[in-house]
């Protein structure tokens, strides 16, 4: 098992109600799970290959809750990545060189028997977790937008977070409201509009989340 480590930020949007039932061991709001996630890697390595400064994204679609499997996924990797970096990110994000179920990437990958060809493309990600404002774009493939959850009375930004001390993805995440538009990729998401989104800092290795 090759040693690897990734530190960075993520922005994710799915088709469920705010808060994402998965985090509480509850079934998805409408029974299915459809999501797009953008990653900004600030620091990281896969063996000797450095990964800091790279961007990546993933589009996922399950016909039921994630643990029932039968899903499809497509990864998108920064066109600035070298061939080695690309292979490294693809390995990590398909759960290779990872202890069983130690990262969300392992689980997503294990539950997606259909893995569409990885896209290599320019990616842009802007994230402000403090203000819960963010945008991730892969031109012609997928775009995620996130904004604060509005207070139901006043419409003012409503701040709420989820702490998962033993989480395999994050230890703390800021909740937001998000939407996803897919266009040219292999997977089409149609339900992600005004639904759950989150911002989180990641620190993962092949052994799992650091600090979990």
């Amino acid at each position: 098992m090759k040693q690897w480590s990734i530190q960075g930020e993520e922005i994710a949007n799915c088709n469920c109600n705010f808060g994402c039932p998965c985090q509480f061991g509850v079934l998805p709001s409408d029974g299915t799970c459809e999501a797009a996630v953008f990653f900004r890697i600030d620091k990281g390595n896969y063996g000797d290959v450095q990964l800091g400064g790279l961007l990546a994204a993933g589009v996922y679609k399950w016909p039921g809750p994630i643990h029932e499997g039968a899903g499809e996924m497509q990864l998108i990797i920064d066109d600035k990545a070298s061939a080695e970096q690309r292979a490294a990110l693809e390995a990590i994000m398909t759960g290779k060189d990872t202890v069983e179920m130690a990262t969300m990437w392992f689980i997503f990958s294990a539950m997606c028997p259909t893995k569409h060809d990885t896209i290599v493309s320019p990616i842009s990600v802007e994230m402000n977790a403090e203000d819960r404002i963010g945008k991730g774009t892969v031109p012609g493939v997928v775009e995620v937008n996130a904004e604060p959850i509005p207070n139901i009375m006043s419409g003012a930004p409503h701040r709420v977070g989820i702490r998962l001390p033993n989480g395999f993805e994050f230890g703390f995440a800021e909740m937001a409201k998000g939407s996803t538009k897919t266009s040219g990729g292999a997977i089409e998401l149609l339900k992600n509009s005004g639904t759950h989104a989150h911002f989180a800092s990641l620190h993962l290795t092949g052994e799992g989340r650091v600090g979990a």
Partner: protein, 259 residues
């Protein structure tokens, strides 16, 4: 703009790995099928009205119970088993997926062997005190039959039942919490899963004493009910409804016996 990377096409190793799930599922089907066939045949237990409980006869009954449980419970274990296969084949023990998965199934069925042992002892006592219509036959005493129904009905409402059912219905969380590497880890996980499953279903299986231990309608009905309780959405209300029905039936039997 976007360029497609073709390095992800399926290699021979990955294609073989994908067959793991099929192999394990076929093996489980074969085991359940053989068990069902043996149960249909009457499990080779001589159907005399007043059998003598020799050690040999007791062992035969134990095997009968276990085979019946294997036929009834293997389908309910299938979702968890397939999830286990999917996780194993991606991890560092991927090359041993089939073997570890079968060990997992073995552990699960061993837990039911424990149940079978207790059921056999109970059956012996029921037949010894002449409370049934004969070997493997329904309980004759309406008071005892009613009491069993009430007990099973009450159990449907208990926190233990709910906790076990929650575990059974969240295979992902169960696997994340209890998965351990190696053969011992696989067997242990199977035993644990079987333990939770037992916590869910032991009382329902006690209904076999009311309906007749080898009554195929009860066997098939219970197996289907257990599968539904475990896999259908919103089964929470269904469990309570079943509990209420059992309580009503048990109360009816008890009251009519006492009047």
């Amino acid at each position: 703009m976007t360029e497609v990377n073709q390095t992800q096409t399926l290699g021979p190793v990955e294609r073989l790995a994908r067959r793991d799930g099929v192999i394990v599922l076929l093996a489980a089907l074969l085991i359940a099928g053989l068990a069902a066939w043996y149960t249909l045949k009457g499990a080779g237990v001589p159907m005399s009205m007043n059998p003598v409980w020799t050690p040999g006869y007791a062992l035969l009954n134990l095997v009968m119970w276990w085979v019946m449980m294997i036929a009834m419970m293997t389908p309910s274990a299938a979702p968890m088993l397939l999830l286990y296969v999917a996780v194993k084949r991606m991890g560092p023990e991927g090359h041993r997926t089939v073997w570890l998965s079968l060990l997992f199934l073995g552990g699960y069925l061993l837990a039911w062997a424990g149940f079978s042992l207790i059921a056999t002892l109970l059956q012996w006592q029921i037949e010894r005190f002449d409370l049934s219509m004969g070997a493997m036959m329904p309980i004759t005493s309406p008071v005892l039959g009613g009491a069993v129904l009430v007990m099973v009905g009450v159990y449907q409402f208990t926190g233990v039942k709910e906790a076990c059912l929650t575990h059974c219905r969240s295979p992902g969380a169960f696997l994340a919490d209890h998965n351990r590497p190696g053969a011992a880890g696989a067997l242990r996980l199977g035993l644990l899963h079987g333990g939770y499953c037992l916590g869910c279903c032991w009382a329902l299986m006690a209904l076999l004493f009311v309906g007749g231990i080898m009554n195929l309608y009860w066997i098939a009905g219970l197996a289907l009910y257990v599968l539904a309780e475990k896999t259908l959405p919103k089964m929470h209300k269904f469990s309570s409804a079943t509990g209420s029905l059992l309580l009503a039936g048990g109360a009816f039997l008890l009251i009519s016996a006492l009047i």
